[in-house]
Symmetry: C2
Subunit: 441 residues, 2 copies
């Protein structure tokens, strides 16, 4: 039998950590629904050739096969590695039953067969929002979607998240204007700027896309531009190059930062080093950082795509972002930045005097639950001290006793004990469910 | 590229169906927490040899391999096919950090590489509750756990579910008393009674466990006993056989039906044809039927196990049940037994007069969301009739207008339109989120 041990890259939480995770999922869901997004859940598997159509992830895919497979019948299925490929397939498959623009959120596990390393998992939770249009999708959704994420993330008890944005048209327009023709490869190289530094980027540009020194310098100058208002366009134009595409992209980028920051001040910063390696983005692209945890990398990313999804007759342009929930959680749980006020949902432990009175205790618990108060009955009829320790170890705040003087409830934190009726007694709201406590607040 | 089509055995819902599923999950979670169970989530994969230690499911397992696997390093991982094997591994792995008895619930997808057929899926959602003790676990949990499920299921807007229970000690004690020695095989055969009928069972008992006609007749007579009170024991004893194990089992079975039905009348029926094929059960076993949908088979099953989990030093006996959420959902969604009052979470569509006023509309939506009212802004500034149709198609009940006479909100169901302030206006509570409507109610 295999040794019992964690499997690298497949994080799991103890019950206290799961309370934090579940609470974060609930809060994200709540915000997404406040913004009118419908939740969907897609199957974990997709046909491998569909997964492979997004080339660069090919080596990260987990394939499935049945243990006693007769003819390899399922070998063409793989686990999804993101929620965008499943969304595109779901939209095409169900287009006749969906209303467009289709606003959907999806909070689900994804799997990647990567070598696990700090902040990278093989199984992890993503929370995505996308708006998908049929044939057309108005630009204003490129302002709307990052704001949904800023709203969602700002309600979580985590450090502040700021969205960094660029626009694929700005990059492409600029690269073409300075004479770099392999835009995709140039983007892929610039995407590594934070990791490898400007010197290495210069060399890669010269080696891979045939840039000269000046073109490499200009590409790096563009990548160095950062502003949260219209000045971002002035600084790009000051580099001395123009094109229709560049102008269009700058118009959108300025509309994004101005529009977004008017609705939520400080929400979005234009940052032209944001490249997003994925070649299907066609407009705005987004990354983000968790303040004080920049080493984690982007915790929320996405962009506008025009041609990811098409059935040959209609196209389905979209814009969306994805939160790396597990990446954030691993940090806040791992560093004890967030802990629940108790490890269990139970508010009241109903003590049992002796086993003959268990039925009575069960009925007390039943009466409490009927009024929304989580209650469990002591698993044994040991001495009261032991039953109180049972509650104390789990953080259960109240113990209920049946005494000769009638029913009583003790707040084991303060020691206060009062007469009580299970059909009436109500704890303070703050005690009804575990509260999250953040060390950074 | 693969044709876009559903994959047999991997059910997915449209957004309206997902509302039903999500609501059911939320209601289950709520009840489980009211009973003091902690939620956990385990990774989707387990080492294959751990999955295989529960022999009879071996051919149903999905194995994983990475697309570009160098050395088959991950080939020993498979997707979990239930939530019991992961629970046992989780308990062993984390025993030092858990408090016993450990009360946990888990609502998660599981995968089985079965040939899909009616009511059987390859990917489906299960909702499990278990109590796991360290070395010992009191019998009263065998009364408690089915009641948690009855409570949880009775709160769902689905037909009534009744738990059918037997006790492994009754079956084993009786078979041994009548001289049938291969108890496990006898149980596996009796488990097929509903499918194949008594004649086939008799033949199988004679062929496989060497029963004579009388032994086969007695085994079938035992399986025909059904009662919701202590008379179940009288009827078994009336067959004329006794043993210590049989007496112990009958004592537990009577305590279960009497105790359970005292707390929730009609909750549990003793039904001695319940066998549960799985050989790790050692005490109470449970199945259940959805009234009016008996053809679905058991929608909630489980039992007591003493030796499923052990690390050689300590053992971890438990009792638990599992709800086949997808099986229930496929029926209630598939037959339109439950539909949401609308397809989207949105309460208010904020209309846009022209694109220049979009920012104003966004601020209105923001003010509504701040007070917990789900709002989205019209994706276009088409004629109002078209914007109202956008809301109508999705079932959004209110459209918000900015007019020369000030802000107004229209209930598009009644046509009523009133002046309103986004910082104050509140819809009736019933409109705040989609309601489920059941056709069976």
């Amino acid at each position: 039998m295999a040794k019992i041990a964690p499997i690298s890259g497949f994080p799991e939480w103890l019950p206290a950590g799961r309370i934090v995770e579940q609470r974060m999922i609930d809060m994200l869901r709540h915000t997404f629904e406040l913004h009118g997004f419908s939740g969907i859940e897609t199957r974990a598997v997709e046909p491998v050739e569909r997964l492979l159509s997004k080339g660069e992830t090919s080596k990260e895919i987990y394939l499935l096969r049945r243990l006693q497979d007769e003819a390899g019948a399922d070998s063409e299925l793989g686990l999804h590695f993101d929620l965008t490929v499943p969304l595109s397939r779901y939209v095409l498959e169900n287009a006749g039953h969906l209303d467009f623009p289709f606003r959907r959120y999806q909070i689900q596990k994804v799997w990647r067969g990567e070598r696990p390393q700090d902040g990278r998992f093989r199984e992890f939770l993503q929370a995505d929002v996308d708006v998908v249009g049929q044939d057309t999708l108005a630009f204003h959704h490129e302002i709307e979607l990052p704001l949904v994420m800023v709203d969602a993330l700002s309600k979580l008890p985590i450090p502040r998240v700021r969205i960094l944005a660029s626009n694929r048209k700005v990059a492409q327009g600029f690269y073409e204007a300075i004479g770099l023709e392999d835009v995709e490869e140039t983007l892929r190289i610039l995407d590594k700027l934070d990791k490898v530094g400007p010197q290495a980027i210069t060399e890669m540009l010269i080696d891979s896309v045939g840039a000269n020194e000046q073109q490499a310098r200009l590409a790096l100058e563009l990548a160095g531009i950062r502003a949260d208002d219209a000045s971002v366009a002035d600084r790009v134009l000051a580099l001395g190059y123009r094109s229709d595409l560049l102008d269009e992209g700058l118009g959108e980028l300025v509309a994004l930062v101005e529009g977004a920051n008017d609705l939520i001040p400080g929400a979005v910063m234009a940052d032209l080093k944001i490249a997003r390696g994925l070649d299907y983005y066609t407009g705005s692209v987004y990354e983000s950082v968790l303040e004080g945890h920049e080493d984690l990398g982007s915790v929320c990313s996405g962009g506008r795509y025009d041609s990811l999804v098409s059935d040959g007759k209609k196209s389905y342009p979209g814009v969306g972002l994805s939160i790396g929930v597990s990446r954030i959680l691993a940090r806040v749980i791992g560093q004890d930045l967030l802990t629940p006020s108790r490890k269990v949902p139970t508010v009241v432990l109903v003590a049992v005097n002796d086993e003959g009175e268990r039925r009575h205790a069960e009925k007390t618990a039943q009466a409490l639950r009927k009024r929304g108060i989580a209650a469990e009955v002591s698993p044994n009829s040991a001495k009261f001290g032991k039953q109180i320790r049972y509650a104390d170890r789990r953080g259960i705040p109240y113990v209920w006793f049946s005494t000769d003087d009638g029913e009583q409830v003790k707040d084991i934190r303060s020691g206060d004990q009062v007469g009580a009726d299970a059909g009436v007694w109500t704890p303070p709201t703050v005690d009804l469910s575990p509260e999250l406590r953040g060390s950074h607040e």
